[in-house]
Amino acid sequence: MRIRRLDSIVISGAIAASLALGACSAKKPPAARPLPPPAAATTPTPPPAPAPVQESPIVTAPAVPEDPMASRTVDDLNRDSPMRPAFFEYDSAELSADARAALDANAAVLKKYPTWAVTIEGHCDERGTAEYNLALGERRAVAAQAYLASLGIAADRLKTVSYGKEFPFDPGHDEAAYAKNRRAHFVITGK
């Protein structure tokens, strides 16, 4: 059971990573760009689809097939997460354009599901020392948290925790692996 979980997480992580790394330039702009400038400050409640949220308590309601997110457990959501990781450069907690795009998308999800709470995990690649990386991971998580807060996500929905280089997503020892492991990783903790 645990092993199956591992596989699905690794795969979903890889998909998320490949989306973020490869497909973002082609796919993302239409989805992500409209959000920050107008929506950030002006609209605290999500205009697109308020109906599913209200209907979700009704088990038999027809809204379920329309929004599978609402019916899934937290574990299910995390196994195939709608939240994207934000990736960082070596020994850096600065948000790149790609990282901000991922966080913009995450902000949209959090606005669509205003009851969700997340923990932002800060992770590092193995090239730094274990001790310093705890602080570096924390700084990455806090950078992601601060950016989401600037987009209007309430701070009490965003916990941070640093794991330094203790839990690499890719066990490899090359730049491809390092790039995946330098991240702010989102775990949904409540819905």
């Binding site: 645990r2 092993i3 979980r5 591992l6 997480i9 690794v10 992580g13 574990d75 995390n78 196994r79 020994d91 090239r127 730094g128 020392t129 274990a130 001790e131 310093y132 705890l134 602080a135 570096l136 924390e138 700084r139 806090v142 916990k159 941070t160 925790v161 640093s162 794991y163 203790e166 839990f167 775990v187």
Partner: protein
């Protein structure tokens, strides 16, 4: 021997720690024949004295006593070899010399032929239920007289402890050296192959372990199925402070390993990690984000008396105390990369020590040495470097083989423990302060961030 195994095991079990048979503290030495003058055995001119340590003599015929007698000889030889004060004559050359049956029939001529200046002879016999009585004498082979004579009695559970105690006594009497044979290492390990409980993805736990200084008696201390990392011995070697994610965020915990009690001095106020004991054991310096950024704080062991030490928007972390407790060395990236700084324990008088690529885990040496060991990025990985505070000279102890990180001094400053990837996985090693005589301590799983008890 002061030894209350029953109460110790009960205390450990009560706190949910590994309930194994724990060795008590070292047996109290009871000199049998008080030596009027301490005689020092010397070697040939300019050479270290040559010592031989044959198997101890089993005075009772049972298998356990006989096995213990052989083990004690081996362990004592290793302990004496470790400090490199004596040339230890290899044990496989003793075969032709008839074994003594008592202190009265030692063939001194034969040992002299082998070139021995000093000869350690020990006897082991049963004493009560589950106990041993052990006598150890160091002979000056030329003079055919005993210069050290010790008697120990206690539990038969850990024969190695008798040899370790004798080694410390011999080093003390012959060289005025505080040996480390009874000290211990602590480190974190993923050897159990357990996964973090309730985690979304598969993540390996790390638990705190302890071991004798030579790697024997490796035992698990924490049983949390979470991350437990970067342990540090309290100066009295009865507690270990470490960073634990047992509540899914990093916080400072102190395990009193012989009592089985657990303390949480930081109490979850902010996220807290990397505790370092003050030399008197009354305070902890640690990293915390309680004010929004990684800063250094000092608090009393019970969590009172919080003092903020740093106020820089950069990262400040990985503290170590000077032996006198008046200064703290730590790591900051305020220059743009992680470098080592020193600050007075009241937060004043900050100065920078290193200007390298990436430095971490400074560890201040015990006196009489006045130096700081740390890990320095020398290529793809790190090497152990020692910075001499008096001469401001820097020397590199490891080179080229894997990444070598997280140095920790032996309490007499003559050796360092560190972690290295030189054999593939990450393991704990020990080496002399000249970088020589590297010994591998762990082999199971991966093992990280050692610390050495006082």
């Amino acid at each position: 021997m002061r030894h209350s195994r029953v109460t110790l095991a009960a205390g450990l079990a009560a706190a949910g720690l590994a309930a194994a048979a724990w060795p008590g503290r070292a047996p109290e030495a009871a000199p049998q024949q008080p030596t009027e003058v301490i005689l020092s055995i010397s070697g040939e001119a300019g050479a270290r004295p040559r010592y031989a340590v044959p198997d101890f003599i089993a005075r009772t015929a049972d298998a356990e006593t006989q096995a213990a007698a052989a083990l004690m000889g081996t362990v004592l030889w290793d302990d004496l070899a470790f400090e490199r004060e004596f040339y230890m004559i290899p044990r496989d050359t003793y075969r032709t010399i008839p074994a003594a049956r008592s202190f009265a029939d030692i063939p001194f001529d034969r040992w002299r032929e082998l070139g021995a200046d000093g000869l350690v002879v020990g006897t082991v016999e049963r004493a009560g239920a589950g106990g041993f009585r052990v006598e150890v004498r160091l002979f000056d082979v030329r003079a055919r007289r005993s210069v050290v004579a010790k008697e120990y009695s206690g539990s038969a559970a850990n024969p190695r402890l008798y040899a370790h105690t004798a080694a410390d006594d011999i080093h003390q009497q012959q060289r005025a050296l505080r040996g480390v044979a009874r000290t211990k290492l602590t480190f974190s390990s993923d050897r159990d192959g357990e996964r973090v409980a309730n985690a979304v993805s598969a993540r390996d736990v790390k638990e705190i372990y302890i071991a004798d200084y030579d790697g024997a008696n490796q035992r698990r201390v924490t049983v949390t199925r979470k991350l437990n990392i970067m342990p540090r011995w309290s100066p009295d070697a009865r507690s270990i402070a470490y960073t634990s994610y047992r509540r899914d965020f990093p916080d400072v915990y102190v395990s009193q390993i012989y009592q089985g009690a657990l303390e949480n001095p930081t109490g979850g106020r902010g996220q807290n990690w990397l505790p370092a004991w003050s030399p008197d054991g009354t305070r902890l310096c640690f990293t915390s984000t309680r004010d929004g950024n990684s800063e250094l704080y000092v608090m009393n062991r019970d969590g009172t008396g919080l003092l903020r030490l740093t106020t820089h928007p950069a990262i400040d972390t990985t503290p170590t105390w000077s032996p006198g407790g008046t200064q703290i060395a730590f790591v900051s990236d305020r220059s743009g990369s992680p470098q080592i700084y020193i600050v007075d324990a009241d937060g004043l008088n900050l100065r920078r020590l290193t200007s390298e690529s990436w430095c971490d885990r400074p560890t201040w040496s015990p006196a009489p040495f006045n130096e700081i060991a740390y890990a320095s990025k020398t290529g793809p990985g790190y090497d152990i470097v020692i910075y001499d505070l008096a001469t401001q000279e820097r020397r590199q102890l490891t080179s080229g083989r894997g990444s070598n990180e997280s140095p920790a001094y032996a309490p007499n400053g003559r050796h360092l423990a560190f972690m290295s990837t030189r054999t593939g996985r990450t393991q704990i090693f020990v080496m002399g302060r000249d970088g020589q005589d590297v010994r591998q301590i762990t082999t199971a799983g991966n093992n990280y961030t050692p610390d050495w008890s006082r």
